[in-house]
Symmetry: C2
Subunit: 187 residues, 2 copies
DNA sequence: GCCGCCATGTCAGCGGCTGACATCGACCGT
DNA sequence: ACGGTCGATGTCAGCCGCTGACATGGCGGC
């Protein structure tokens, strides 16, 4: 075995979730997280840009899945529908196995405004990327932005319901349901 | 005259905007802002919860105007339309006189992710309050959330265009235009 | 078998932010 | 007019998030 235990990043994430659920986000210091992972504070900041980020790493895959799902839809599909297909694709990452983890993580986020800020900007960036993809296929600027943002609003509702759902429906189902409500309310 | 110069909070805001436009948000310390305002760092934090907040104080009035505008609409008005009337009411606060200031402020925010986070959560809170007001008048939970969030998405687009607009149209006009696009894209 | 790489450690330091306590003009009641 | 309270500010000590600079030492390539 090497000089270092492998999986430093994963150990940091796990240590962080443990300590935070025990004591709450703001009663845990980065030094404590690092210590539980058998590392130092400095190393924590080599793996995560800041303290909040330890709870959001891995979301990149999720964002990529969404954008890939959008780009994969034929160009003649209407903007909002293309966005929805992208959002549905998130279900390949957020499958049933990840639901309990997502729930625990969301509870932490919901209890801490600074984490909500981070979540909001992450989702806004995904929406912004989707809007750019729509523009690339010729959609008008305003329509692109609104299709992406409205779709993301539906996704947020869908995610909330999926997390609370006891396995009855998957995320893609909730996305479809939320978009149906969106269409009702905007009509 | 009293022991202290009046308008400490306003002086802090002005000093902050000056220094930030001169040097950029992250090259200005709170102590420097306070010093230019003739105060101490500790006093800064008595007026603003954190460094970012100095750029967002006063938005409370704006949020109140929106919610008041929503609550004032008759209960038989459809949810999204009620939201739009609230958002239009923001124009009473963000009038033509405030446009240059809004523009300068928005440039700073757009250049600093940490400030974007703060802006996003502020708007999300307004949307959340609007959703609660809709629920209070009997609108279904999901419809309320989506009407508020979709309306807020339109507002963000409208605000962007209003800030870039050279006085041709007011904010309420841009809100109406953005909602029209929203209806097109969601239809 | 040597060497360079790279993940980690160590250390010093800045800036955001907070709690505790002191100060002293303004205002109020008598 | 006087005493007391109040409230905005100052002062100070200190924690914690975060960063730059430099050191260390197994591992893999040559």
């Amino acid at each position: 075995m090497g000089r270092w235990q492998p999986g430093a990043q994963g150990r940091l994430q796990q240590a962080a979730m443990e300590l935070i659920t025990e004591r709450g986000y703001d009663r845990v210091t980065v030094a404590e997280i690092a210590a539980r992972a058998g590392l130092t504070e400095r190393t924590f900041f080599r793996h995560f840009a800041d303290k909040r980020e330890v709870l959001f790493a891995g979301q990149d895959r999720f964002a990529e899945a969404i954008v890939a799902g959008l780009v994969a839809t034929p160009p003649d599909v209407a903007p909002l529908e293309a966005v929805v297909r992208g959002l549905e694709a998130s279900g390949t990452w957020l499958d049933d196995e990840r639901r309990p983890g997502s729930r625990a993580r969301q509870d932490v986020i919901d209890a801490h405004p600074e984490l909500q800020e981070r979540e909001l900007i992450k989702l806004a960036r995904v929406a912004s990327t989707m809007a750019a993809a729509l523009r690339d296929r010729g959609v008008d600027e305003g329509e692109a932005v609104l299709a992406a943002d409205a779709g993301m609003a539906a996704f947020r509702l869908a995610f909330t319901r999926w997390v609370a759902d006891d396995g009855e429906h998957d995320l893609a189902w909730h996305v479809r349901a939320a978009v149906a409500v969106l269409r009702t309310v905007v009509a």
